[in-house]
């Protein structure tokens, strides 16, 4: 996916003017927030689990090499193979080679954000392998050639009507006047179409929510069961995932699973939690003949030990974006790359560069809600702040902001000058604003006064009046 994060301001403006998107976001707003809250209330130890998960993830990141090597050894022992890929290009080529070796024409795909991150679908298509998304949301946006707008609900920006239109446009062998009015009709149609694709696919590609070092298993959580068909029916199963997903034991995976769905959708668990451990063994009734895990780094290990180290704790639940007032105002596409919302504002600059993504860590009021709901306590606002430091050091922030802050710093570090200057300025502004109590426009404050009044100061500063009071009191 070609990033448009540098156009964030225009993207956001368009999103705010998009009546259709605003209607959809209006429905979305608050839904998952309430569901998470209720799920949390039903689990008294929820907060304890979060602390436990944070500590667990910290331990893993401290010993990442150890657990990854154990994982690999187990995968090999089970008859599978692990492919270590430093860059998106390496990962794409590895997957393509595996597809070619299997003589694959079509590939069924479970939902994977890492596959989006490395641009896998376009690459496979360019090289003659047809990828078919099987998660309903991903399938819809694949037909529409759109990127996901949310990491767990990729088609959240669309209505039932949009989906019906898309299906009519693409499923041309079906009767044009069929009924697609209800969600059930849409699901049934997608199921019928996809069933054929599952059976025809030569290779199945899934992501992984967790990799388990002690067993060499990969774990996916889904609500549609599409992941199970993707990894069981084809001859070859390829797991594409980030290397930070590894956990030591089954028990550890279960700690994180207890948090994941509750944080994401408010479910206690997702409908399917599927463990894959190697290819089909002699005597197994089904399963793939080959099992490959493509471990993608793409800059992750370079974050270890930096101020962004803790972002690698992320388990991709999406709670931060569900609760983010900025995400809720503009939706996911405005962020201009794969990961939107607060997690994207921290991750995207690391993955696609600060020059491209420097707006994203600025597009936050630091309201702190993302950190407050994060199941692994990632200090997201503070990491956005760290990006702002880097942005300023690299002079990527607007010059007017840097000069303004420089002036403020100069002025405010000289209390006598400051109290004198603000005293005069506020006396004048107070007099000018006295009649109406507010200004409809102010030079240099267009961003504010275009859409809201600027309340006028009372006139004179507190410090002036306090000094007078002290003099009177003698």
């Amino acid at each position: 996916m070609h990033p448009t994060s540098h156009d964030f301001k225009d993207n956001a403006r368009r999103a705010l003017d998009d009546v259709h998107l605003q209607t959809v976001m209006g429905v979305f707003r608050g839904g998952f927030v309430d569901k998470r809250k209720r799920a949390m209330e039903r689990l008294p130890e929820f907060d304890q689990l979060r602390d436990q998960a944070r500590d667990l993830k910290n331990h893993i990141l401290e010993n990442l090499d150890h657990y990854l090597e154990r994982f690999e050894a187990k995968v090999v022992e089970n008859g599978g193979q692990v492919h270590w890929c430093r860059t998106p290009a390496e990962a794409r080529e590895t997957v393509l080679e595996l597809c070619r070796a299997a003589d694959a024409k079509t590939v069924s795909k479970g939902k994977s954000m890492v596959a989006e991150e490395i641009g896998l679908n376009d690459y496979l298509e360019e090289h003659g392998v047809v990828p078919i998304e099987t998660d309903l949301g991903e399938y819809i946006i694949q037909l529409r050639r759109e990127p996901p707008s949310h990491i767990i609900v990729p088609a959240i920006h669309l209505t039932k009507g949009d989906v019906a239109d898309t299906f009519r446009e693409h499923h041309t062998d079906l009767k044009p006047d069929r009924n697609l009015g209800e969600a059930r009709d849409l699901v049934n149609e997608a199921r019928a179409v996809l069933r054929q694709k599952f059976i025809a696919a030569d290779v199945g590609i899934t992501g992984a929510n967790f990799l388990i070092a002690e067993t060499g298993s990969t774990v996916i959580v889904t609500n549609e069961g599409n992941g199970d068909l993707t990894q069981c029916l084809p001859r070859v199963h390829i797991v594409v995932t980030g290397l930070e997903k590894v956990v030591p034991t089954l028990e550890d995976a279960s700690t994180l699973i207890r948090l994941l769905a509750r944080s994401a959708t408010g479910q206690e668990m997702s409908c399917y939690t599927t463990f894959s451990t190697g290819p089909r063994r002699a005597g197994d009734l089904d399963g793939p003949e080959q099992f490959h895990v493509v471990l993608v780094d793409n800059g992750r290990t370079s974050l270890l030990g930096t101020e962004f180290h803790e972002v690698l704790r992320c388990i991709r639940c999406g709670a931060c974006m569900n609760h983010c007032p900025v995400y809720n105002a503009i939706g996911g596409h405005a962020y201009g790359w794969v990961y939107p919302g607060p997690i994207g504002s921290v991750l995207d600059p690391a993955l696609i560069g600060l020059a491209e993504a420097h707006h994203l860590p600025n597009a936050s009021t630091f309201c702190g809600r993302c950190e407050a709901v994060c199941p692994v306590h990632i200090p997201l606002p503070n990491m956005m702040r760290q990006w702002r430091f880097r942005e300023s050091e690299q002079k990527l922030s607007p010059p007017a902001l840097r000069y303004g802050l420089g002036f403020w710093g100069f002025f405010a570090t000289k209390p006598a000058l400051y109290h004198f200057g603000t005293g005069i300025a506020m006396t004048v502004l107070g007099l000018l604003g006295r009649a109406k109590g507010r200004f409809r426009s102010l030079p240099g404050a267009k961003g504010w006064t275009d859409t809201r009044d600027m309340p006028a100061p009372e006139g004179g500063t507190f410090q002036q009046r306090w000094a007078q009071r002290q003099r009177k009191a003698g």
Partner: protein, 259 residues
Amino acid sequence: MTEKPTKPRVGLFVTCLIDMFRPTVGFAAVKLLEDAGCSVEVPRGQTCCGQPGWNNGDRADAEALARQTITAFEGLDYLVIPSGSCGGMIKVHYPKMFEADPVWGPRAKALADRTWELVSFLVEVLGVEAVAARYDGTVTYHDSCHGLREMGIKDGPRTLLRSVGGLSLTELPGAEDCCGFGGTFCVKYPEISTQMVENKAAAIVGTGADTMLAGDLGCLLNMAGRLKRNGSGVKVRHVAEVLAGMTGEVAPIGDPTGR
């Protein structure tokens, strides 16, 4: 000079916005603190807490302002501040800022430990349960983000507001949703900010309350600005003005003075 030392010596951090836009909030804080038995001082060496620089990549100026603030309030029993946001800056962020600094780290920590937001200080430290104020009206209250999530301010203002004679408190739906101010955010991304404050303004009007209160002036200027632009008659005030019974001394935020 005999009974004086028993009074806690409180340094008031006025905040730059209150100093410039709304001095009455500062005097309301002084009154509440003095009524509760404190001796209040206003160190002249204070200006801005440094949050604008800290949140916008200007670490050097933020640190200079933090050192200035730390120095100005040393020797006082408490730093009390009528803002959850600037309060969070001092209490939560100063210690982080100087984490690795052997000189300023401990001094920042010492100040952070003595720093309280005004209403929390009254309720939690001084044990104030009621104020001697009257306000005839229906008010609603917005929980400003930093006060709520960095300073844990939630019940304190509501407890004291319920003790105000004539006042009826009605809860604001989405009271914990950000109003869209966000310091420089509101001018860096004005369209997004506008959408957020419009949602907030609609929620406020929806309560039917005649008065809107909060504990942070930045958020109040933003909400008042949008309400006024929309032609709403809702009166907007800092919670301290109502608690101190000083609403007669100044018009609501954004309303004409000198009636």
